[in-house]
């Protein structure tokens, strides 16, 4: 029970009815622990993206139980879904999905709009996140003025700006050349090492070296599930650690501030 962020049991996603029914997910079970970096692989149409959408509360499962952070979210209202998306989930997409007519800074600050942060707080947080990805000089650029790799880093900054519980990435390197992909993967790795939980869908087997767990899917079910890092060795978020070692809290906060 400890440290479980996501628990899916018997999740089924069906499209169509009767004879035309097809299943994107069929009795899918999954338990994700805090600090895991999961890669989901599999052939096209095996339900990877559907799984990600269900986990990200963008889509609803036809059947089954989904517990996010101890809260049963299988049948919550659309408004509550939106609220959870804003607070607990960060998305990274294959095609970046930045809003074209907003500046980079505003794009990164966007999730904070929907958790009611004042504008100055939003912009500060966004500027901090951009600095982390070495994009500070590009704050007032528009997305079309950046390269694909830079755009994806902006998208990652947007995904982490509200400190979500999980980061969902749908083929984040799919539209990038190998050099940019490597940079993006290194950034994701760095985020993961800070204790973030990442679930990533990919077609590229060479990227699995970054993961702590690799899941192969076939026809809406898990085919193979391999953990490369033991559960107790998973990186944990700073705030969890600070809770354990009260004495070190101040020190860590100071370090954190310096970094920002």
């Amino acid at each position: 029970m400890d440290n479980v962020v996501i628990k899916l049991s018997n999740i089924t996603k069906r499209y169509g009815y009767g004879d035309t029914a097809s299943f994107a997910l069929r009795d899918f079970d999954l338990e994700v622990k805090r600090g895991e970096f999961i890669m989901i692989m599999g052939p096209s149409g095996c339900g990877k993206t559907t799984l990600l959408n269900v986990i990200g509360l963008l889509d609803r499962a036809t059947d089954g139980e989904y517990i996010l952070n101890g809260e049963d979210v299988s049948s919550i209202s659309a408004a509550r879904q939106a609220r959870l998306r804003a607070k607990k989930i960060g998305f990274i997409f294959q095609n970046f999905n930045l809003i074209e007519n907003l500046t980079i800074l505003d794009n990164v600050a966007l999730p904070l709009v929907y958790v009611n942060r004042p504008r100055t707080v939003r912009l500060k947080a966004a500027a901090g996140a951009l600095k982390r990805f070495h994009l500070s000089e590009r704050e007032y650029y528009h997305p079309s003025q950046l390269s694909g790799g830079q755009q994806q880093r902006v998208a990652i900054a947007r995904a982490i700006v509200s400190d979500p519980e999980i980061i969902l990435a749908d083929e984040p390197t799919g539209n990038l050349d190998s050099r940019s992909s490597n940079i993006v993967m290194e950034e994701l790795k760095a985020i993961h090492e800070e204790g973030n939980t990442i679930i990533m869908v990919t077609h590229n087997p060479s990227l699995t070296s970054y993961a702590t767990r690799v899941i192969n899917m076939l026809d809406g079910q898990i085919d193979t599930d391999i953990k490369t890092v033991a559960d107790h060795n998973l990186p944990q978020p700073i705030y969890v650690r600070t809770k354990k070692h009260r004495g070190r809290t101040k020190e860590i906060e100071a370090v954190e501030e310096e970094e920002i």
Binding site: D59, R85, A86, F91
Partner: protein, 409 residues
């Protein structure tokens, strides 16, 4: 909440700026509707203020008795307009004039009987001149400056007439025809006085004094078979006694007429009410018609918002993915249409007053400004904005995030 509100306004502004031409044209659609409403309200406002001004010019110590009951409700005014009651016989008579003059506090009583007839003299013929039958006391109530001669009095009342300035010119080609004669209905009359030219020519039920002939009402009764007393003007001793005196007049008339109350006694602002009420109906109708153009403008907003929603489907998807709820999206688009319509209405108010100003250059009306007009138009704009923005906004709010994310322009 206020944070989100500010954010919505900022978003809407950004989106409007992005499509300047489109937004301006949409605003303009609303502006035309609002402008026509402002124009109509401003012009009718100026007319009614003109009427009120004239009434206050007549004097505040005036009590007016009119035939038939006062008409307060809109339907009764419309009824009167559509029925043949204007051809009925007036319920007022010289007996009533006598009754009123005996009421305490009344200093002067003048019946007014307006008729038209053909006037002739050796030189000219006026086919339909206004003839006002009244009494010598008329000048006490409404001081009429005389240019030449004297007004009617008890000695000359049988065959004397006083004529207006313009009428004198038309009949005699001179401004001083005192002592000369004219005839109508087969009788001859002597002109004993000529009125000075009056500036406020519209007075007392649209009678133009400059073009009128005044004579004693009893002499008029002798010439014509009957006269209709349209109005009895009464001057009272003291302005503060207007109310009790008019009540006394009312009861005196009632007692004298065996309980018949087919007349109305009014004073102060109430004198102009029939005219103002009619004006209100007309301006209401006109405003309603121009409201149709506002609906057209509103549909313009709805159209543009629908385009905007479908253009920004992808953006809506992104916003929803990062945590915007349907309500957030709904408000974003409603604010956009609200701002469009409010800008439109502000533009419309300026445009309307500009038009009213141009109209006032060629007509006697002066544009009438009031905060009520501004408030009414802004409120209308808000209603239009919300009304016509809701459907597109709902459409945006109901979009499913995954479908919208997949959507590309």
């Amino acid at each position: 909440m206020s944070l989100l509100l500010r954010n919505h306004i900022r978003l809407a502004r950004a989106s409007i700026k992005q499509n300047r031409t489109r937004s301006f044209l949409t605003c303009f659609g609303i502006a035309i509707g609002i402008a026509s409403i402002v124009l109509i309200l401003s012009l009718t406002g100026s007319i009614s203020s003109l009427i009120n001004h004239e009434v206050s010019g007549i004097g505040s110590d005036l009590v007016v008795v009119r035939p038939s009951r006062s008409k307060d409700s809109v339907t009764s005014i419309v009824e009167e307009l559509t029925s043949a009651s204007s051809f009925e016989r007036s319920s007022l008579s010289m007996v009533d004039v006598a009754t009123i003059s005996e009421v305490e506090g009344v200093t002067a009583v003048a019946p007014i009987a307006v008729s038209t007839n053909t006037l002739m003299n050796e030189e000219n013929t006026i086919p339909s001149a206004t003839i006002i039958g009244t009494s010598p006391e008329f000048t006490t109530i409404e001081p009429l400056p005389l240019k030449y001669g004297v007004f009617l009095n008890n000695k000359n009342s049988n065959n004397a007439v006083v004529i207006g300035h313009d009428l004198a010119l038309k009949l005699y080609n001179t401004s001083n025809p005192v002592g000369r004669t004219l005839s109508f209905c087969g009788q001859r009359f002597i002109v004993v006085g000529v009125l000075d030219e009056l500036e406020n020519t519209i007075n007392f039920d649209n009678v133009n004094f400059n073009e009128s002939l005044f004579m004693d009402v009893e002499a008029m009764e002798n010439v014509m078979d009957y006269v209709q007393i349209q109005q009895i003007n009464i001057k009272v001793l003291n302005t503060s006694l207007l109310e009790p005196i008019s009540t006394n007049i009312s009861t005196a008339l009632k007692d004298n007429r065996y309980g018949d109350t087919n007349y109305s006694v009014s004073y102060g602002d109430a004198i102009s009410h029939p005219a103002s009420n009619l004006l209100m109906i007309i301006s209401g109708m006109l405003a309603l018609v121009s409201g149709i153009s506002l609906i057209v403008g509103g549909i313009g907003i709805m159209n543009i918002m629908l385009v905007s929603v479908s253009e920004r489907t992808h953006e809506i998807g992104i916003r929803k993915a990062v945590g915007a709820s349907g309500y957030n999206i709904l408000m974003q688009f409603i604010f956009e249409s609200l701002i469009l319509s409010i800008f439109g209405s502000i533009l419309g108010i300026f445009l309307g007053y500009l038009l009213a100003f141009f109209v006032s250059l060629v007509t006697p009306f002066s544009p009438y400004f009031s905060w009520e007009i501004a408030v009414v138009t802004i409120l209308t704009a808000i209603v239009v904005g919300v009304l016509f923005g809701t459907y597109p906004a709902l459409k945006a709010a109901r979009k499913k995030p995954i479908d919208s994310l997949r959507y590309y322009r």
